[in-house]
Amino acid sequence: MRSVESLIFEKGAPGRRAATMTAMDVPTEALESMVPASMLRKEPAPLPEVSEIEIVRHYTHLSQRNFGVDTGFYPLGSCTMKYNPKLNEDMAVLPGFAHIHPLQPDSTVQGAIQLIYELEQYLAEISGMARVTLQPSAGAHGELTGLMLIKAYHEHNGQGHRNLVLIPDNAHGTNPASATLADYRSVEVKSDAQTGGIDMEHLKALLDANAANIAAIMMTNPNTLGLFDSKIAEIATLVHEVGGQLYYDGANANAVLGITRPGDMGFDVVHFNLHKTCSTPHGGGGPGAGPIGVKEHLVPFLPGPMPARNEQGYSWEDVGPLSIGKMRANKGNFGVLVRAYTYIRTYGPDGLLHVSQSAILNANYLKHALESDYEIAYPQTCQHEFVATAERQKEEHDVTALDIAKRLLDFGMYAPTVYFPLIVHEAMMIEPTETETRETLDYFVSVMRQIAEEARTNPEIVKTAPHTTPVGRLDQALAARKPNLRWTMGQEGTH
């Protein structure tokens, strides 16, 4: 159903307000005696003047114009849109977790430090690492932290000249971007056309040609094609032999819980995306959390402080003189950590293994069911996600991955990730996660089959989709040509 919702700035009237402030209960002094006029605001900031009921209806309507995991199937590849448990939400808002100040004396936040301390241990065990910092705010933040650790390690060992990071051609964009921020140069490693894994010959050639300058390789396993690179142990040996370090992008960790561990694969650094693997909600674009796990040799370089425990209880300890410093203010996204902690305690070891097994089953189940109607980029057994393509539909009917994504919206589902990874044309990366029922998966398949049929018999309906969403396709070119990034008084009203 098409509709619009005007902006909050287009609502209300002068003098209206919602929340009231507490009363001024202290004796006051003249403003000028505290701050001279030249340093004061001349005009109040022009925030809206709306009543509470207007606010409630406005944001309730906005939520109704938004699709979340709670609304329906959300198979966004590499994002792991699994169900977000409500128990975790309730734990995060307990006053003892929600209303504590980051600089309170350690003795007054023993429960908080304990939670972080224990979560560190769980993540270290899950990943096969020595220690884990919970400081980074998101995966990309963790990537940068990990690369800085590697850099500090090399510098400490007189290897500061190493300036190259190897990154597979199917890697997520944050990987090379993080490398640049750490002042590294990215070198692309090709994938093997058959296996989808790293092209070993190309890797060996790159390592040979640049041995002295290789700082690290950044990889994820399974990779963004959803395939497990069985050569990982050999890759680790080769990279270590030239003196490089291995970085594990944890975006695909939902496939490995209890099955294999990055530490055992040979990685030196790993980041987690708690908002993916550990069910913390994505919040429409955050917050997340990107903890970093490291092997023993990198521990001295970790950002600080780190949680510690002794007979007196829990405390925060400085890392030491080799620490890279700090990646953000305060200790980390504690509210997110509470949710992840609750999640891990909910499942226990057997449960987490079953999470990954089920995620892998659901993905293979879908892959098999879609094979007859869509080209599958790599036919072999996948992990928790796989890449289908709209190649056939594009060739035969000029219906693209984008069109198919839009048409899915008409059926009450979110679209898979499209046009990523870059190495597959008309890619649709599908990750169902373990929390979907068989019926939902069957429904998705039936809709995808219907869309394939529509591409054959009635392509227009797909190419002009979506039809039933609040708005139709939007003019992206206009948004970029004439950017309107904020409401201004007098601009054309919502219509």
Partner: protein, 450 residues
Amino acid sequence: MSYIPNTPEDQQAMLATLGLSSLEELLSPVPENVRLRRALDLPPALAEPDLKRLLGTMAVRNKNLDTTISFLGAGTYDHAVPSVVPHLQHRSEFVTSYTPYQPEVSQGMLQAIYEFQTMVCQITGLDIANASLYDGATALIEAVLLAIGPGGRGEVVISMGVDPQYRRVLHTYAHARGFNVKEVPTRDGVTSVEDLDAAVSATTAAVVIQQPNFFGCIEDMRAIEPIAHKGKAVFVTTITEPASLGMLASPGDYGADIAVGELMSFGNTMSYGGPALGFMAARNKYMRLLPGRLVGQTVEEGGDKRTGYVLTLQTREQHIRRERATSNICTNQSLLAVGATIYMAAIGKQGFRELGELCLQKAHYAFRQITAIPGYSAKFGSLFFDEFVITAPVSSHKLQRHLDQAGIIGGYALHGSYPDMENDILFCVTETRAKEDIDTLVSVLKEVQA
């Protein structure tokens, strides 16, 4: 307990469609040499009621600000959250969605962020703002990287009045990226204008001043601005206490180019410092250089041309620019931005000003009362907003202990970040401190003499 809905029977049937009979068979691509052949060493699963008891016990071991009086600020500020905010912010369509790659079904989030971007501009007086960054410290980093430009080399001049944690983060990034940081000392609690003038050269890339600064003092931005702009530097202001914008002149007004800072205290839970809400606002000319997500207004492609919202100018970002990106940010702090938006709508134009006044007046009342106690003195003579530094008659360590015994969380002991400030404490008083809280503090302080 598990959220996996399919039963073993469901899973067997699904395996059968693949010609398999066990989940283990699906794991064949994982070679034996990396297989974990033991259970993870983690505590066993707990049912929901048991988890509630476990976590409840942990939470209760923390002194929380619902029931404990606190005078802590130092970068994280306690501002009351109206009930309407969490009720709307926690609607699950917001909470459980992700990046609006399909804008047609994400109009709610996109519009809320467009409103956030607008309100950030309204309170800072600048032209454009992004959809959020991780926190105030990393927002400062992003501003510095923007000012320095591609290549990553250059010099940043920063006042020591900027939050010490933010400066620590800046040094961390500077070392990794390869740019220089020059720190300028404070005099009487504010940036020394003479030292700043000496530090800024024609080639300085960015000048960073916090307002109010870490000591709570109000910087003379009108005197600083021409110095910051004497070369080609970008003038960056850092704001950790957004309530100050209700009273003080805005960055747009005093000539800042970019304003960054921390908006978590507007509508969100403090949660031990994270998740936080970094913001960045800037002049129009930086539009194509701004990091992070940007939401733009547009219209439908089709005939009706309804108003809609999309992520725009995406070619700035990592998923397109990859190694040429100047920022790697992907997931940000959207849900907290929604909270801040609802908060700012709820307090509105009038409430925002009142908030500033309450903080200002209550803090100055506390200041007068405390400095009247024999043995306690103001460290600085400079103007302040809602925080001030007191020199106590005993070490801050001793004073904190005494306050703790009285059930009060005192101000922030400064000697950790400024080693020569052994007896100095930074007290913060926001609108959440009732007069009687302040009077209680004063009576406890009176008990502690040299």
